[in-house]
Amino acid sequence: MIASIPSATLLGVEGRPVHVEVHVSNGLPGFTVVGLPDAACRESRDRVRAALISHGLPWPTKRVTVNLAPSGVRKGGPGLDLPIAVGLLIAAGEVPAAGAEGMAFLGELGLDGSLRPVPGVVPMVAAMATGTVVVPPASVPEASVLGRHRVRAAPTLGDVVACLRGDQPWPDAAVLVGAVDPAAPSVGAAAANGPEAEPADRAVVGRAVAGATGAAGAAVADAATAIADPGTAADPAATGVPDLADVRGQPVARVALEVAAAGGHHLLLCGPPGAGKTMLARRLPALLPALEGAEALEATTIHSAAGVPLPPDGLLRRPPFRAPHHGASAVALVGGGSAWMRPGEISLAHGGVLFLDELGEFPASVLDSLRQPLEEGVVRVCRARGSVSLPARFLLVAATNPCPCGGSGTGMPCRCSPAALARYRRRLSGPLLDRFDLRVVVSRPDPSTLVGGPPGEATAPVARRVAQARARARARGFRSNAEIPAPLLDRLAPLAPPAWALLEQGLRRGTLSARGLHRVRRVARTIADLAGHGEVVSEEHVCLALALRGEAGLGEVAA
């Protein structure tokens, strides 16, 4: 007997359809998996056997051949356990073939026959052409994100078999999701610094029950969504997102943060240890508007493919915040790896914020690898076995000390030798530094403002201004002002005469380059949008843009 079960495997952030063909015939008993399986795939034989026996299902004492078609594509991961088991049962005649008609299967099996989630369910389900997909209960929200398939789930292989035989109806997927233990490791590859905004309370969730943003949606909605829909007002304490009100003093850094969020301008914070650079950067994602439509789906797909935990309803709407340590390798940052082209940190930050703390400590080669994705919003990872394109459009925020010892700027003398300073600056100079439209020196706040001062402006009103500024940019046809091409600046960001005079003088003196001019004009456009100013950019906005641009932000420059 032969059976063919549709399933999928993962390459980069894309699913590839796979047909699991199982052939059972007379001969010397044995079990072979062919069709370029990786180690986890080959090992599925032992898991499938144990799962079958655990549920009292017979293990055929015949010759079994499993082919993963198309045979030329490498298959990875344990997600093919379930389709192999189902195919085997159909081929052995234990389950009627008609029961599994029009169904695709995906999931890892435990030795006790339980169904376990696998990474990459969103893209893999997207690759499936059938009307129904059967996934582990914990993967139901991810599988439902697309909304194209009927999603079935069952807690164990025994239940799946019973449903396929028609002995029992398919359980309600939404109820199953509620029963999943949120503490269980949903996937193996969870990154060390996942989104910090994981809601503590994962009650009954799921699109089937709660719709897009219902009771549980409040937990994932951020301040910007709250503006769009007052009914889902988010309590920052409940979402765990740090609030801008915690930042005392530091007026310039706050403005820079707001401008960065509103215009999509990359931001470099330069300041001594303890100046609050990291604190500021962590408050940036909450200022960004919620992800919508295609962008949310892209971000969700990437997170799913990387095995990073997703919000309970499956769709990622909060802009992600990724903060890789400076020990990260180039592959960890841009993605790749020989097996399944895992998306890197910059792709995980797609639609959100990539925060590089201690920028000067990152190896130069790693920083250089960021240049192409910064320009194009996509990173192409090429390996001998093939190449994938991973979306990577993110807001880059970097923090750095003014010098390696961190002394200068604190009132303490700097202990760095001129050579060490020059080395440090060289690493922070050049093409990457050029990409930062905003370079701000951050100082330690005055102790009196820290202890007794009034709290700063909260996230919600700032996010409202950001949302309005972004709406103005969208009305011009761009996601953000940072994307306005230079030839259109004259039309979209016309300058008042005094503003022109100021920039002209900078050009003549050589303090401003032609490229710098465009950047300043884009930032000034954003500042004017935030201020609710009309179409013409005034001198005030240009002055602030110039002041926020700084230069290298790295202390004095030698003669």
Binding site: G249, V252, V440, V542, L544, A547, G553
Partner: protein
């Protein structure tokens, strides 16, 4: 580029090589520093000294190497003077630590006029840079040779000022720690060429010598020996300038100091020198008086400030800025202004020349 020392050879045959070629070859031997070179060359002519030294070495250097070194010097436009031979700068010959061999790019003119060393730290403030530039420009404008080390910071600013005084001004002289074909610091490559064209660059190090740290204190004694007056612009208490000052004092050369803010660490050395009784150098006129010269050139800065006076609102920003370095944020906190309003004030002040912004930091500028 041949100097009056006549140390130029047409032929490369051993017997026709001048004595300077052998001195240069001795200086280029591995393990021979300035002191060792002086010892080798004392009491005998360079050719004998080289032959004696060559016999002691294995593998034994040959005449071919001397000739090759000499033609390399010629190609690089470098002339060689040997202590005790014609062509050696008179102003150095009497010094008790005079370099035994001196390499030079550029003409000898700078070594014949009046000479003032302008020295200071590499990590100077905008104040030090401005003062050094003005001193260099006005001294050179009065026909005085500005001697310095071509380092970053004060040294470079003094030379840049001397060059800014125009082609008829006193030629600048630089004494460097590396070989004359090794530009250090690399950022001063252009300044290096300009100084070589307008004046001269001197070095004790043979071609190709790296700027090793020990060479700089040794170089500083040459600066002190060359100068009639040493002016310290800005330097922390311990630093390269201290070597220059000590070397100058050992030679009874007058040392002058530019007064600086008492709280500025980069003015520690000049302020300490003033407290010890050195003369202050407020401007080029003070230095010219010390040289017994009457000012003839562009003179000190005019007493009236050419800058338009800032409006009261901007004066407030200037006062908050003081004479130190402040970031935009420090200023916003100190003045209590919104970043936008402060940005406008700073842009206007910078336009009118009252402040200068560098790398996100703001400083008060002096009138130019």
């Amino acid at each position: 580029m041949s100097g009056p020392d006549g140390a130029r050879a047409g032929g490369t045959v051993g017997s026709e090589l001048p004595a300077e070629a052998f001195a240069a070859a001795l200086a280029a031997l591995p393990g021979v520093g300035p002191a060792g070179l002086a010892r080798l060359l004392s009491g005998c002519d360079p050719r004998t000294a080289w032959e004696r030294e060559a016999r002691r070495r294995s593998p034994r250097p040959g005449l071919g190497e001397v000739a090759a070194g000499w033609s390399a010097l010629e190609t690089a436009g470098v002339s060689v003077s040997v202590l005790g031979r014609p062509g050696y700068p008179a102003c150095l010959a009497a010094d008790h630590e005079a370099p035994a061999v001196l390499f030079r790019r550029g003409g000898p003119g700078g070594l014949e006029g009046r000479r003032v060393a302008v020295v200071g730290t590499r990590r100077c403030t905008a104040y030090g840079r401005d003062v050094a530039f003005d001193l260099g420009r006005e001294l050179a404008g009065n026909g005085v040779t500005v001697v310095s080390g071509l380092a970053l910071g004060v040294d470079g600013a003094a030379h840049a000022g001397a060059l800014a005084a125009g082609p008829t001004a006193g030629p600048p002289v630089a004494v460097v720690g590396s070989g004359l074909d090794v530009v250090y610091p690399r950022g001063h490559a252009r300044l290096w060429e300009q100084v070589a064209a307008a004046g001269a660059i001197l070095s004790e190090a043979p071609l190709g010598a790296r700027p090793e740290p020990w060479r700089f204190p040794v170089r500083n004694r040459v600066i002190a020996a060359l100068a009639e007056v040493v002016v310290v612009v800005e330097s922390p208490d311990r630093g390269g300038s201290r070597h220059t000052v000590e070397a100058a004092m050992a030679r009874d050369r007058p040392v002058m100091a530019v007064p600086g803010p008492v709280r500025s660490a980069t003015s520690d050395l000049p302020n300490a020198l003033l407290a010890d009784g050195c003369h202050p150098a407020r401007d080029a006129l003070d230095v010219l008086v010390a040289l017994d010269l009457a000012p003839t050139g562009p003179g000190p800065a005019p007493p009236t400030d050419p800058r338009p006076p800032p409006p009261p609102g901007e004066v407030e920003v200037l006062e908050a800025l003081g004479w130190g370095r402040k970031s935009f944020e420090d200023l916003a906190v100190a003045t209590g202004r919104s970043p936008a309003a402060l940005g406008v004030a700073l842009a206007h002040l910078e336009r009118d020349g009252w402040v200068s912004g560098h790398g996100g930091w703001w400083e008060r500028a002096v009138a130019r």
